[in-house]
């Protein structure tokens, strides 16, 4: 590969451009009219405006992105996360136009993007899955299925993501109400009203396993990430490894992830998501067929550049890593720093970044597209940057993160820094004792 078009914006666009620079690969940035002053535009070798500010007219404009790739002679397109990264049609169109889509095949995206089919596939491959139903189309079916599984159950959208089209039902009444709203939400969000049921796992943790697969059947895993600290299904703090996973469980969950990935002949970087209950049982939820926001913590602990691996694998190289060589070192924590008012229900509050001080020193990493004087456009997500801290163990990583958060200065906009400072000082967090309910409960009992 000699020239890659980066079909994204913000910090992940910079992350990809950085990897390309280090690989001596040229980059083409694409940008909306709202992102003219963005760093990804400045840093790329070429930059092409692809539309007005709204994402659907720019970062989701398949035509303009493919035209930019062709006009500027790209060999490949890196979609980052979000936007077109899990769009099978886009991957197919890339192939049809002679462009390498840096990710898995369109068929794999298609299969794994359909949660019900993905679950079926994994179940057949021997990966533990949450007991659940097939796609349900009417109220009689849903009641029957729920009673078979036993309450509480979760209603989930087949095409879902980000918590949309998802409802918890503790009884028949909640089930019937939730079934209709979940279908309506799913239709609105994904143009697909297919929903299914899953047994609800209480006090569960959200654990995901990073995998890499090549075109020739080799697959490795790079351990797990703990992503239970979520607010309304949005991850806020992640760590690698999980404080709830010991070496034996890591081996087992890693083996299950590899088994599932091999069953679909997966190529590229991907993430197998699991729920982990308090007895150490784990259940496959879904597979993400893209790079994750939180990939840096795995990179810090395993010493592997995942973006470069994606690029290498997409260009047809063999996986250069063997499972026995992939030895985790220490611990890493990531805090997503958003421009949100934590005292006003985390309402996004874009503005212009004033004074900026970025912490440095041993084990501190900052992945961000903001700079002093940068006007954050109101059209996109509220993430300002990702602060990552590595330590020789969890305690050192957490203390280092607190030190770095205390140093970080972002003037001019409200940020979630105080939220992170408070959570990281919480004794339950320090003890590693939390599930996916932690943040919502913590926010209720804490005065920020």
């Amino acid at each position: 590969m000699r020239r890659i078009l980066v079909a994204n914006r913000g910090e992940i666009a910079l992350r990809i451009i950085r990897a390309c620079r280090e690989l001596n690969i040229e980059t083409i940035a694409v940008y909306s009219e709202a992102d003219r002053d963005s760093l990804h535009v400045r840093w790329a070798d070429y930059a092409v405006c692809i539309g007005p500010p709204p994402s659907r007219l720019s970062y989701l404009s398949v035509q303009n992105i493919l035209a930019a790739a062709q006009t500027y002679h790209a060999d490949a397109i890196h979609p980052g996360y979000g936007y077109l990264s899990e769009n099978a049609l886009f991957a197919e169109m890339c192939a049809a136009h002679g462009l390498i889509f840096i990710g898995p095949s369109a068929e794999q995206i298609d299969l794994l993007g359909d949660k019900a089919r993905a679950k079926d596939t994994m179940e057949k491959a021997g990966v533990p899955v949450i007991p659940g139903s097939g796609v349900i189309s009417n109220q009689d079916e849903v009641v029957e299925a729920a009673e078979g599984l036993g309450y509480p159950v979760i209603i989930k959208a087949r095409a879902g993501g980000g918590g949309k089209g998802m409802r918890l039902a503790r009884d028949r009444t909640e089930l019937l109400r939730g079934f209709d709203t979940a279908r309506a939400e799913a239709l609105a969000a994904f143009r697909d009203d297919g929903v299914y049921l899953e047994k609800f796992i209480p006090a569960a943790r959200h654990i995901e396993v990073q995998v890499l697969g090549d075109n020739y059947g080799s697959v490795v895993h790079l351990g797990e990430r703990e992503c239970s600290l979520q607010r309304r299904h949005q991850k806020l703090i992640e760590e690698c490894p999980s404080p709830a996973v010991d070496a034996e469980l890591r081996t087992n969950i890693g083996a299950a992830a590899v088994q599932g990935v091999q069953a679909v002949k997966y190529r590229s970087a991907g993430t197998m998501e699991f729920l982990l209950d308090d007895e150490g049982n784990f259940y496959f939820i879904e597979m993400n067929t893209r790079i994750q926001v939180e990939h840096p913590i795995t990179e810090m602990v395993y010493g592997v550049d995942l973006i470069k691996e994606q690029i290498r694998l997409a260009s047809g190289e063999e996986l250069g890593l063997s499972q026995t060589e992939l030895i985790p070192r220490g611990h890493a924590v990531e805090c997503r720093i958003n421009t949100e008012d934590i005292r006003a229900n985390f309402r996004p509050c874009p503005g212009t970044v004033g004074e900026l001080y970025v912490p440095g020193g041993l084990g501190v990493r900052w992945d961000s597209h903001v700079y002093q004087g940068y006007a954050i456009p109101p059209y996109y997500d509220s993430m300002l940057g990702k602060l990552i801290a590595w330590g020789k163990d969890r305690d050192e990583a957490v203390r280092r993160m607190i030190r770095a958060l205390d140093e970080l200065v972002v003037m001019g906009v409200e940020t979630t820094i105080p939220f992170h400072q408070a959570v990281l000082r919480d004794p339950r967090f320090r003890a590693g004792d939390y599930s996916t309910h932690f943040v919502d409960r913590w926010l209720k009992e804490t005065k920020l």
Partner: protein, 145 residues
């Protein structure tokens, strides 16, 4: 910029009726404002040293009657329907609304772009076969009628 230049700028602003003057050196940004109404055009006599800045400032579309025709999509700019065909328009041509001005090729599709209003093609800003991005000014047309 030297100190005497800054001093001269101050005197200049003082001597004129300009109330607001901003500039940035890196990548040159100049901003001249006058009065509270904001819309009144800046009046400069040809003898005035401030005239030089009027060249630097972007031509106002409205006051000069010029409008830019911008690319509605990303692609390659073509002035003619085929390699050996004559261009759709030349500088100086009078064009009618709906008349094809140029083609943008995107994903092997030839997209003919038509004039939205009638006028005179004053300037063609992009060479044949060049890549263009969304919103890029391609032609300046003086609106007529």
């Amino acid at each position: 910029m030297e100190f005497k230049d800054i001093k001269e700028l101050i005197l200049l602003v003082n001597a004129t009726e300009i109330t607001d003057f901003e500039m940035e050196a890196g990548d040159l940004r100049i901003c001249i404002r006058k009065g509270q109404g904001d819309t009144a055009p800046i009046q400069v006599s040809p003898q005035d040293p401030a005239l030089a800045f009027s060249d630097v400032g972007p031509a106002s579309k409205g006051s000069l009657g010029l409008e830019a025709v911008v690319a509605p999509m990303v692609g390659t700019f073509y002035r003619a329907p085929a390699q050996d065909a004559p261009p759709f328009v030349e500088e100086g041509d009078v064009v009618a609304p709906g008349q094809v001005l140029f083609i943008i090729e995107a994903m092997k599709m030839m997209n003919e772009i038509e004039a939205e209003f009638g006028g005179v093609v004053e300037k063609i800003l992009v060479a044949n076969g060049e890549p263009v991005e969304y919103g890029q000014p391609l032609m300046l047309v003086r609106r007529q009628g």
